[in-house]
Amino acid sequence: MNSAIVKPALAVYTGLFILFLYAPFIVLGILSFQTGPEGGPQFPIQEWSTYWYRHILGLTPPSRIAPLPIGEALIRSMVLAFMTMVVSTVLGVLSAQAFRKRFTGAGVVFYLIVLGMMVPGVLVGLGMALVANALGIDRTWWGTAFALHVVYTFPFAFLVMLAIFNRFDASVEEAAWSLGVPPARTFRRVTFPLIWPGVLSAMLFAFTLSYDEFARTLFSSGRELTLPLAIYGTFSVEIHPNVFAFGVLTTLFSFALLAVYAILMGISVRRARRLAIQEDIA
């Protein structure tokens, strides 16, 4: 292979790929600075302004364009994502811990757990709605929808933790037991600090997957909408650049979340590297 040709070609390909990946977002970002309230969601930009950002925050004089109904939906989605993150991560850690030992039916249980992320969301959502109706349960974002979010995100947390435990050297736990430390305390003082980077990743997965979940939530959340549903609702009337402005803001929020993750991860990876060095020398 001639690397003088292949390397630049690969670079161009990668550049195009990234452009393709981010072009929609860039367009969205540019259009969010359209003038308002008369400017529409298309080029050309008539005049640059931050009108739509102020519009979201309710800082513009009243106009014919209704403010985005996101205030409560945003809080609902965040609370839901947080609840889902906590429950799925706890379940994921515990079930992965269970899978460290062979037990009867391990194979079946594994596929049953993983099934939660495989089945089509719309079907599960619809199924949940039917079951809830049949049993006379009210459909709510914190009840029926929450259950489906957990079913959906738990397998991701589980798989992350399974990979972490796969590389985990169990002799440190045995060492703790042989010092007279009971298993529960050993988990708290030895195992958990060592698997913490994996737990962080599982949390991030669960949170982000739940935060923008649509299909499962659509049928199972009842009257009170989550953020993705609320935004989708505005599309059916007329699209204004305020949706784009909101998209930019939530993306910034996601970046902030990622930054927190990166910082926490950096701290624990530095700790884990010590372990790696220790093993190299030994």
């Binding site: 060492a175 042989s178 010092l179 010590r274 372990l275």
Partner: protein, 357 residues
């Protein structure tokens, strides 16, 4: 003796693999026991069963007069030192050592002062003074070994199991740690059960040596007895210092292929017939001087030699391609100039051979 460790009929299988076939033995208190076995002889499994990390398929472990069936590892009061040390990577040297005292179930040490005193004492005992606040990644392999040992010893177990504790150290350090392990054990009066695949380590460290052979106790004796009077051909094989000839006894002589050796004393009963002679008891003579009365010998051609400072290892080949090794200690003999592919008489005192028939 009754309070020490007693194993009765321990067995453990992994599928078709027999790790422990039938291990019964009784270990007195306050001794250094080494367990010698080749890889796959079940020695690590034995330690793990005693420690409670694995359950035996059959048999019992008794310790301090109590049966330990079903007693979880953290309630056994038996220390364990791992080959890879298994230090807690997220804790400092001090916190590693204090870990057991702080978090154990049975009377944890609560007072900061008492904890500090105990930890400082053991740090001094194992020679880690000044390193207490380092991370376990910031110290050398030998120092890690000491941390692992200190971490176990500070909890005052009556029995410490050591799984190839010197295996991860380089040769130089290994030699020094041997002496230190023995000294530390003597000062504390605990029992050490030290598993190793190295015959020299087993003989040097143990007050008594257990030789494991395919999941059974092949021999349990003093190092001197194990070395000079192996209980079976396999034990002799593990010692790595015997020439072992297969064959059969015929009227006071041992016939091995075309060779026949004189025997002295009564042969020992064993499942497998074999004639064993230690490599350092053999003399090399010219092909014109055959064994005299009371001597046995074999004609073999010289192949090559290996010089290792204090001794030389000579490799010969007898009839049928059978290898014979001779070890000559240079303090007693000059190295001999041997011609490759020339025949020599390898001769030994028949009384010194160990014969199984």
């Amino acid at each position: 003796m009754a309070d020490g460790l007693r194993l009765e009929g321990l067995s453990k299988h992994y599928g078709d693999n027999i790790a422990l076939a039938d291990v019964s033995l009784s270990v007195p208190d306050d001794t250094y026991i080494s367990v010698l076995g080749p890889s796959g002889s079940g020695k690590t499994v034995l330690l793990r069963v005693i420690a409670g990390f694995e359950q035996p398929d059959g048999g019992t472990v008794q310790f301090g007069g109590e049966r330990l069936d079903g007693v979880p590892a953290h309630r056994r009061g038996i220390g364990f030192a791992f080959q890879n040390f298994a230090l807690f990577p997220h804790l400092s040297v001090r916190d590693n050592i204090a870990f057991g005292l702080m978090y154990r179930e049975r009377d944890p040490v609560i007072g900061q002062r008492a904890l500090r005193t105990k930890v400082e004492d053991i740090i001094e005992l194992v020679g880690l003074t000044g390193l207490a606040d380092r991370g376990v990644h910031q110290i050398s392999g030998g120092q890690r070994q000491r941390v692992a040992l200190a971490r176990t010893l500070v909890t005052e177990p009556r029995l410490v199991l050591l799984d190839e504790p010197l295996g991860a150290l380089d040769a130089n350090l290994r030699g020094r740690m041997r002496g230190e392990l023995r000294a530390i054990r003597q000062r504390l009066g605990v029992t050490f059960l030290h598993v190793t695949g190295s015959e020299s380590e087993a003989l040097a460290m143990g007050d008594r040596v257990i030789v494991l052979d395919r999941g059974r106790v092949g021999q349990f004796d003093s190092p001197d007895t194990v070395y000079n009077q192996p209980a079976s051909p396999s034990v002799a094989r593990f010692l790595n210092c015997y020439n072992i000839f297969a064959g059969r006894l015929e009227g006071g002589r041992f016939v091995a292929g075309q060779a026949a050796f004189a025997t002295g004393g009564t042969p020992r009963a064993a499942a497998e017939s074999a004639y064993c002679i230690r490599q350092d008891l053999i003399q090399i003579r010219s092909s014109e001087s055959p064994p005299r009365d009371g001597e046995a010998g074999i004609l073999a051609s010289f192949v090559t030699s290996e010089y290792s400072g204090a001794s030389v290892q000579y490799f010969f080949e007898a009839d049928g391609g059978r290898g014979v090794e001779v070890e000559a200690h240079l303090g007693h003999r000059r190295p001999e100039e041997l011609m490759p592919r020339q025949p020599y008489n390898l001769v030994w005192n028949a009384e010194q051979a160990v014969v199984f028939g």
